[in-house]
Amino acid sequence: MAPKKVEPKKPEPKKPEPKKEEAPAPAPVPEIPKEPALDLKSLPLEFTADQIEEFKDAFTLFDETPTGEMKIRYSQCGDVMRALGHNPTNADVLTVLGKPKAEDMNTKYLDFETFLPMLQHISRSKDQGTFEDFVEGLRVFDKEGNGTVMGAELRHVLATLGEKMTEDEVDRLMAGQEDANGCINYTSFIKHILSG
């Protein structure tokens, strides 16, 4: 059954003009292309009613308001989307939230109606990364070409490049993966992480 076209409310807060990107990180990192202002209002929702019910269930799981108002904090938005099987980067999430200020992340809330179009937008990008992609990626760090990477190096990379992970997150990810020499066999590492 086709869902009614939902008129999404204006997402809170008001969408600011896209901020100019800060001075690009030192070369040779390529500049992140500036995106046009995100217009979620015009997005038609393509989810089925069943799917929406399922999203609601997941959304409710993360609702921590004492009276169950069906609201989550901005900082939880990414988690809920990921829990539903999507894979946005942190930057994607911030964009879809309207590039809020850092202090807003823990103080502002969004409700389910506002969340849905954001989820819709995120669900469009389908690049999840295959097993081969991961292997290719990690091979970069395989100095000796023997199928292993140095755990320490991987930790360093994950904590300093891209969307940096915290030490805790890295620990959790790598728990039990390094052998006595601190090396990781990355094909089995990837198999392990992809098996959930």
């Binding site: 390529p30 269930d57 990921r82 990690l138």
Partner: protein, 784 residues
Amino acid sequence: MGCGVTKNNAFNKRYDKAMKAAVMIQRWYRQYAARMEMRRRYTWNIFQSMEYADLQDQIKLYNFLGYLMDNFTPSSSERNLISHIFRENEVCRDAEWERFFNYSNIDVPDIYSGPRLTFPLDMDQAAGLVEAFKNKQQLHSRYVLQLLLETWKLLRGLPNINRVSTCHSKEITVCGDLHGQLEDLLLIFYKNGMPSMEKPYVFNGDYVDRGKDSIEILLILFAFLLVYPGDVYLNRGNHEDHIINLRYGFTKEVLGKYKLHGKRILKLLQKIFSWLPLVTVIDHRVLIVHGGISDTTELALIARVDRHRYVSAMKPPKKKTPSRSSLYADSERYDEMIICRNRTGSMTFPKQFSARDSFQRRSLQDFSRTVARTVEEEFEVRRRQAQFSMSSFSQSHRILGSVPSCESEPDSTEVIDTSDDDWKQILDLLWSDPMSQDGCVPNEVRGGGCYWGPDVTEDFLNRHNLQLIIRSHECKQDGYEFCHNRKVLTLFSASNYYEIGSNRGAFVRLGPDLVPYFVQYQATSMIRGLSFPQSVKRTEHTALKVLREQLFVHKSDLLSAFQELDKENTGLICLSDWASAIERVLHLDLPWRVLHPQLVSSTTDGMLDYHGWFRDLALKNHSSEYIEQSMLETLYKHRSTLETIFRIVDTDNSGLISFEDFRQTLKLLSAYLKMEISDEVINELVISTDTNNDGSIDIDEFMEAFRLVDKGRLERGKSLFKFKQEYQHLPQEEETSQTADSKGPQISQGPPSQTAGSLGTHAEDCSSSQTGDLCDISVVVPPQ
């Protein structure tokens, strides 16, 4: 420029790749973490709703007892059983009790290597006791009785309200529920130091039940109480109640550990529990109470009650009416009826709740539909009971048999109402829970106490000039949680309460500034070596297993709900219907659509073959054809009621009941459930469980048959056991085959008897893949 540019390009390319790899992994990781978080959350929800379901079991028991009182016939055999259940309470004066609890003729053999206590106790002995229990020693019953007697004497002199002060710059440590989990108490002492004059402690009730070291916890706390009476404060919890103990494991623990003197120990504890103070107040500013408050809670009244008359939540004190005085044998029976009458009140308060709160606040109406009675029938029953209680004493008295002659009480003819009010005050203190809406309504989930709102907190604090309420009674994932604008703090000190990894425990320290300082912990001996995702998965696995059990128990209702939706009888329903049907039947307010991949192994085109699904949950009945599926399901559903009745009936606490009592109990239960249970079936059950061949049934063995055995967990348990053996310093937590009144299905560690040896005939091997973790569930009914 040639060389440099090429090098730069190559470098850039590699850098790009590295970046991409990093971003990919990071992105993947965050998704993984979010999914883990979701699983952790719904696992928690499952446990909480299971606890709710378990509480409903308790209400089932009350209802069944009510039914018994209402419907027994005067045939001689049933009369005996019922008088068994409602046997008279002995009445003696304190001096006579002291003689009964006399320990001095109990000899301690030379080979006993545990602590030998001398009184008065001192700090070294208390610390020695802690050390002994840490080393799995057991205190000899002589010393147990002696220690308990001293405790009883001390408690009798304490007021209802403990008053503590943080002067002299003392920091006071407050602990919540411990529930027999000795490891947590040891962890608290390790982190915080043992009680002393410099380190005062308040313990907020629920020391016993569920965990396996309840008696040890009590002995430690009482020992410190005796050594530092001015610095150790104990509040009573709702589990400091001998009837609750019957259901939740403490009684069984004591009788198991103290085979000869267990009964005496329990009787003495019954008195001690009733003498525990009700609340503690720090600096006239902070109230510490186990459950909470209601809109009628008044400390001035609390201070005046005779707290020791309130032995059990199931038994209000006797009223002073003349009609009662000569019918003393009936007192327990009368008390039971009063309970039921009082509980009519809660059934007249159905309330509309938001979806979020709904599972917490089911009215008894919803519940009783899943039991075989409608609300109207319930009301009818209660009305009849009320009439019965007021008018037909002589009749009941004749039927129940002889009555000892007692002097009539010298009091007046009026019913003194204060005992009712007092009782309500105490129930409210020990059983209430906070809610987010304003107001105060009866607590139908627990069957006693109320739910109180932020306005009630505000009013209460103002009236009494207090600033904070610290309470326990509810498990919190992080060990503590504020509510009501940070005016109410829930503190829970039993970590891993539902399952390993389910929650942390916490304690709080308050200095003269009364600013709380929290310490959280989690007893980790079992999860050392398990990574975080592994422990989430373990916990989730247990939660799902328990959930499947609930689904199984409601199979017939679910089947009708599905068939209602499947009008064309295709045997298929869509997932959305599946989810809403389950929610309608179970009322657990769980995210079924999120859970479905864990509960449903396969669908075609989004449609579920529900008969096939039920086959996955089905009983595998290996014994006779006499006992049919639905019968077993029903018995399974009411197994905890059955077991509690068995234990009540087992008056000499031997663990055995006679054929006849067993038979009658089943007959009564089946009549109550409006379910036919023929004599053949009963005989079948009896024969299959009477392994002693001596005409008596071993209660434990019978309940064994009603465990749901999960082979996958058995395997995992075995490998974990092996894992433990490699780490000698881990406490040897035996997974005993606890009976069904504990948290949920447990595994059995080794066959207790010949019948269990034939366990191998059930359940196929479970695959170990994630969704394939649906293990076959079967009830093991021993073969003929």
